[in-house]
């Protein structure tokens, strides 16, 4: 159990900087998920915590102790790799116990601890097998066992579920969560899968282009995205974005074809903004309903539990999620209705969130 303090950490390869001054505090026992698209620097950040990657600038401290120059083995971290990275020539037991062997733990104690870990992960009957003879999920569990046996201060996960099929991924996800509840060790989990991120995280760190865009609980990140990037990256289907301009009496959307009556607070007339609405927050109403935007249905996607309806709003693509079974046919006209409280506003220039339009935004209780 340990806290991690990351201060202004940078990473550059030759001339290219990939991580630009990241600051992050991870509390002891917390499960933090770093979410971002590929190439956003999330794995690099994780590998810097692990000690597999040199830190170009800034400091990383584990339990208050700066670890910048320490070897991976001295940092007390254990890592689960994306491709499991099991030693192919060793049996499951040897794989799990290798770090103890390196550390010179006596054979008897080693066997005992391997047994204990195998029991937690339900690997007892597989201890003599080679990784070749295991299924993906079993390999994944061995990789976790290898991390667990060292009783590390910090668990690091580098997209460990991305090689599993969808069903197994859901299962392993809940196993990781249960395991964390049981061991309550500080964990950092890197993924590009937002469902994984939302379900696992105590706190979510959204990264983009080597910078942290937002840190918060999954609910916070979903309901109050700090930037346009976070708004469109978290949530599926992605949040609808409409370009707009501040006018004297509110907002004009889509090049002036639609209007929105909201108070413009301090924003100067003529400034460009983007308005976001979650597809889940839109209601389909009859075309011509007062206060609704009229649009044409393009495509309907059946999801079983619900339907995604893609509509055309004066040339802009817009999606609506509805749980109603009866839905308009492609080509028909519909009205889109939403409450002002569900609107998100972002600056078109900086992409950052603008809260000037409303005094308060309701945040769901956690």
């Amino acid at each position: 159990m340990a806290s991690i303090t990351i201060r202004d950490v940078r990473k550059s390869y030759a001339k290219m900087q990939v991580v630009h001054g990241v600051n992050l505090d991870i509390a002891s026992g917390e499960f933090v998920v770093i979410l971002g698209p590929s190439g956003c620097g999330k794995s690099t950040l994780l590998r810097m915590i692990a000690g597999l990657e040199e830190i170009s600038g800034g400091t990383i401290a584990i339990d208050g102790k700066v670890v910048n120059t320490l070897e991976p083995r001295e940092r007390g971290c254990a890592m689960v790799f994306q491709n499991y990275a099991l030693y192919p020539h060793m049996s499951v037991a040897q794989n799990i116990g290798y770090s103890l062997k390196v550390a010179g733990v006596p054979v008897a104690e080693r066997a005992q601890r391997i047994q204990a870990v195998a029991r937690i992960l339900e690997l007892e009957h597989l201890l003599d097998r080679k990784p070749m003879a295991l299924s993906g999920g079993q390999r994944q569990r061995v990789a976790m066992g290898r991390a667990m046996i060292r009783e590390p201060k910090v668990f690091l996960f580098d997209e460990p579920l991305s090689n599993l099929d969808a069903k197994l991924r859901v299962q392993m996800r809940s196993e990781i969560r249960k395991l964390h509840r049981r061991l309550s060790a500080t964990s950092v989990f890197v993924t590009h899968d937002q469902v994984e991120a939302m379900t696992l995280a105590d706190r979510l760190v959204v990264m983009n282009g080597g910078r942290v865009e937002q840190v918060g609980t999954p609910a916070e990140v979903y309901s109050r995205p700090a930037s346009r990037f976070v708004a469109t990256f978290v949530g599926a289907p992605a949040m609808n974005m409409l370009e707009g301009e501040v006018t004297l009496d509110g907002l004009s959307l889509l090049g002036g074809s639609r209007k929105l009556n909201v108070s413009r607070a301090g924003l100067p007339v003529g400034s460009k903004i983007a308005v976001g609405i979650r597809p889940e927050a839109v209601r389909l109403v009859a075309p011509g309903t007062p206060g609704a935007l009229d649009a044409t249905v393009d495509l309907v996607e059946e999801l079983g539990a619900g339907r995604v309806i893609y509509v055309d709003l004066d040339g802009a693509a817009f999606s609506v999620v509805t749980s109603e079974t009866a839905h308009p046919a492609p080509g028909s006209a519909v009205g889109l209705q939403f409450s002002e409280a569900d609107l998100h506003f972002f600056s078109s220039e900086t992409g950052s969130r603008l809260d000037v339009f409303k005094a308060s935004m309701p945040v769901p209780a956690l």
């Binding site: 991976p72 083995r73 890592m79 491709n83 990275a85 192919p88 020539h89 290798y98 060292r150």
Partner: protein, 304 residues
Amino acid sequence: MVERTPILNFFTHLILFVGFVFCVAPFVIVAIAASHSLKEVNDVPMSLLPGSEFWVNIKTAWTTADLGPKLFNSFVMAAGVAAGKVIISALTAFSIVYFRYPGRMLIFWLIFVTLMLPLEVRIVPTYAVVANVMSPYQAILDVTGLSWLIEKVSGVQVSLSLGLLNSYTGLIMPLIATATGTFLYRQFFLTVPDELTEAARMDGAGALRFFIDILLPLSRNNMAALGTIMFLWAWNQYLWPLLITTDASHATAVTELKQLIPNVGGIPEWNIAMAGTLIVMLPPLVVVVAMQRWFVRGLIATEK
């Protein structure tokens, strides 16, 4: 191409059979000749039916050429060279693939260049060095004038000398350096996933620990392949052992075979010569048969 028709099957087997005959015929003739008496082996044409003198000829060849100790010498040399090559090439490749240091690429290319300098090309300097391992150092002392200085100051004449002629070390050492083996290992190490290296680092294994615990077991097949090839290559060496073993006690079986080959005008004892050849051929054959399973695996595919 996977296609199966009776005619195609017939032709492929025919080609296989012709190839087989070409490969095996010389051995069969050697074995038959080794079983004939002196008179039968010199008949024209020689009878292709086995004679009855096989064991007699083997025994004669064994004693005439003193093959017991010679085979032992050959074995020591071939095993030494094979082991040395495997160890040195694994270590070299490990250094080249897993460490970043200045001059790494230069060293890599220097090793590459030695591919173009087989022993035969550099045999004179190599001989000179083996005859006196210290000669390069002596040359440095002489050229810099240090030996002159030492002689003037202390009155001692500097003459460094350490000869390796007629020794196993001399037989083995110059043959150990190998670019081929280094390449084989390098290619193999490059296929080992980086994550494995990182997992070992996370597990606390240092460089040497990783090499011994992870890389070496993973490269067993490569080791067997390289070891087998190099054993055969070293066993068949003729020029080098001939050159540096002036004393029969360190001669190898291959060089001693010539003792059995009849001189011009001598008794044409080809049956004895063939029997000796058979004996000398046997150990490499045993090695190939014993190692072929790993040998083939090591050369054709990376382990899955």
